[in-house]
Assembly symmetry: C2
Homo-oligomer: 465 residues x 2
């Protein structure tokens, strides 16, 4: 007898949670499609040689390699050189997107808007809340040769639509621009990109270590920055806007500056104006000059999204603008802008914080009960009518105590229980118990399906779903 168990670092759900998770996936997908993004799925296995184009790095050390039974032990066969197996599991959706766009470049229309919602794999250290298998929900817009900054404004509109409908509380989409940051740092005499990165890493510790500690580090040995430059940096990274007008004012306040700063300011200004034109309320977005994201990758607009009441959860949706998606695979220049939602982690955190309340209820909407002596054929006929009307219906195939059947429906989150005993059958009606409203009523068999359908649609409309 083998103990049934999953490997560490994966999230497996019981049906009620799986239903809640699936609803979140559906909501995200619906909104991605609402904004014109097209679906792409890629294989979970990529050729190692294709996947691992960058040498070294944290990501590569976390890669899972794949070998068929036959290839195991034969180091030379089925390997991509230096003993590396031929196949590996994707660790994100960005490298597969780059490979996909480069491979199918001549079959795609640009700008190419794609969404992809699949699992990715990382050999993380096993730790609570860290996952080795997790969903990423990504959208990207890829241009050929060039991509207007206007597209950078679409993504906050999608983020707003997704998280409004997910209904997990107030959130803020925080915007910054890497050019603006670069320009500002250059103006402080920090022109070197790597030094900027090191300074930003220190600045990132503001919340944890406090301002004094960061100031001491930056003015101290190693950095040797001038005190007034450090003061200006600390002031800069604290900038947050409180409204649309305030955001524009904060940009104005940066003054003329150098080319990079001016370009960054102009881009952010255009993004802000179009985000507003797309109908995103100004309470949902703000400038935040401390947002940097992956410094070696993003080159323009960058995004992070945080839940106003749960800042400790960190960014729930991040991304930005990059210069060239697929330089390892094609000579074409493919600039893009994208965002990613790590849904497995988000779901886990929301559940930990008790924020999944709105997602209750089964996919099953009605149950047909079966009483002793009642013909199963009658119950199946009721179910047939409900299903034909688009109502998800389960039938009790075997008679049990009626109390047990109601208890089962209630625990399972099924809203309606329909029942037609001899008495009801003789009168041509069905008895219905509405477990949500805690009401009971009778309805002619002919009107059963349409009646329940109206109830379900009213509820959906009320709940805004």
């Amino acid at each position: 007898m083998i103990k049934p168990r999953t490997p560490p670092g994966v999230m497996e759900l019981l049906p009620p949670d799986q239903i809640a998770f699936q609803r979140m996936l559906d909501t995200i997908r619906r909104n991605f499609e609402r904004f014109g993004f097209l679906p792409v799925e890629t294989p979970v296995m990529e050729l190692s040689e294709v996947l691992l184009t960058k040498s070294g790095g944290e990501t590569e050390r976390q890669v899972y390699f794949v070998q068929s039974t036959g290839a195991l032990g034969k180091a030379s066969e089925g390997s991509a050189g230096e003993g590396m197996p031929e196949l590996a599991l994707r660790f994100d959706l960005t490298v597969p997107l780059a490979r996909y766009v480069a491979e199918h470049e001549h079959e795609l229309a640009f700008p190419f808007r794609r969404y992809q919602m699949q699992r990715v794999y990382r050999g993380e250290r096993a730790q609570r809340g860290r996952f080795r298998e997790f969903y990423q929900c990504d959208i990207d817009v890829i241009g050929k040769d060039a991509l207007s900054v206007r597209f950078d404004a679409e993504l906050p509109a999608v983020i707003h639509a997704v998280f409004s409908e997910l209904d997990i509380g107030a959130f803020t989409i925080q915007l910054n621009n890497r050019k603006l940051m670069r320009g500002f740092f250059e103006a402080q005499g920090i022109a070197d990109g790597e030094l900027q990165a090191l300074v930003l890493r220190e600045v990132d510790k503001l919340d944890k270590r406090g301002e004094d500690h960061v100031r001491e580090t930056l003015t101290g040995e190693g950095f040797d920055l001038a005190a007034d430059a450090v003061a200006r940096i600390l002031e800069f990274v604290k900038v947050r806007s409180t409204s649309h007008v305030d955001a524009l004012a904060k940009l104005d306040a940066l003054g003329e500056g150098n080319d990079a700063l001016r370009e960054g300011v102009a881009e952010l200004r255009e993004v802000l104006e179009l985000v507003r034109a797309l109908g995103v309320p100004e309470s949902a977005y703000a400038l935040n000059f401390s947002i940097a994201r992956g410094l070696d990758y993003y080159t323009g607009t960058v995004y992070e999204t945080t839940l106003n009441d749960y800042p400790q959860i960190g960014s729930i949706c991040s991304g930005g603008r990059y210069e060239n998606l697929a330089s390892h695979y094609t000579k074409s220049k493919l600039p893009g802008v994208g965002i990613s939602i790590g849904l497995t982690r988000l779901f886990w955190q929301l559940r930990e914080a008790g924020l999944l309340g709105n997602a209750s209820g089964s996919t099953v909407q009605a149950m047909v009960a079966l009483m002793d002596g009642q013909s199963l054929t009658d119950a199946l006929e009721i179910a047939r009518r409900l299903r034909a009307a688009g109502i998800n219906t389960e039938v009790q195939m075997e008679a049990r105590k009626i109390g047990k059947q109601f208890q089962y429906a209630s625990r399972a989150g099924i809203r309606f229980v329909a029942l037609a005993g001899d008495d009801e059958k003789a009168r041509g009606v069905v008895a219905v118990k509405d477990l949500l409203r805690e009401e009971q009523f009778e309805v002619p068999l002919e009107e059963l399906a349409s009646t329940l359908r109206v109830e379900l649609e009213q509820y959906r409309a009320l709940a805004g779903r």
Copy 2:
């Protein structure tokens, strides 16, 4: 520069095909849920020790093992003994279901109806139409201790609902029963299960090799069966019913027989009656006494489904009743009945046969065009209205020649193009081109979204979607 490419044996689709594929997945899922099945997803990686409970066998030789970078080369570490890596990719959804049900036995309500639609992995020989990564769409009903044969009747109803809505042509759900077969073979003096299997394997060659060849083999050396027994076998496996009444008559014609035969006949009779009560038209199901399926696994009802006009595609949905799901993981007896659709292979075959015609059209329903000089803000406002009404809308973020924009929409399968130049704006209207009906009309901005919505819903109703 690395050549961007996928590994052999995977199916990666361009967006139009991906949309068609996704629609099939959605249709299958919708119908699985319609019949009260609950969603389950399991990790793609299982512990090798848990996954590979059966020793040897074709399946095990095709397993993909997974190792993180750190575990590679360290044979002893992260291995499950005998140099077998600790993790492996699932090769079907049945073993993960067994593990899941055994692991969560006390948290599930039985009978447990679950659906699961995920990819599985097999190290198949690379060959056209053979996939190493493919979707399986499974449903199973699992009982605790016992499961009434009544549940065996639900699955043909689900199969009928799924394939009717998939709209890929007439199909027949073929039914048989392992007990009935066993009883029949015993009556012919073939009591041994393995010999029955060998005979059935020969009988399976009827279509390819012809009746004479099979008769000679079975009466010849090795089998040494009596000529009259072989004649009865060949007659038996040719039995097909042509209607509901005919199916019952064919069962009656088998006579009293032995216990196994009687039990099989009684089960099939009950399944047939309930399948009819569930509203499945009699043209969609038939007895077929040659259906055997996996002989070491199924013990009662067995199903295969074939497209009437494309028999060469083979079974597109198969399954049956099994005695005990999870004997490797739990002492509880968990009988079940299930079916599986191999969607990747089915999609590939339908595409090869040119049968995907009905699935055309983008997920994008409307495109807002942008003319030179027109304000992008106006276009975004039109898009905002359409999206708020639930219409999937793409905006041309940059003005191009208007002809190019229409051409793009047409090629992409987008139905509506909305356009508001200076003239339209002045009159408060939007010009709409309906690329499906090849019509053009103007509509007040306020009525645009509701007008398109009505058109889309009418079309959906007409197309029966």
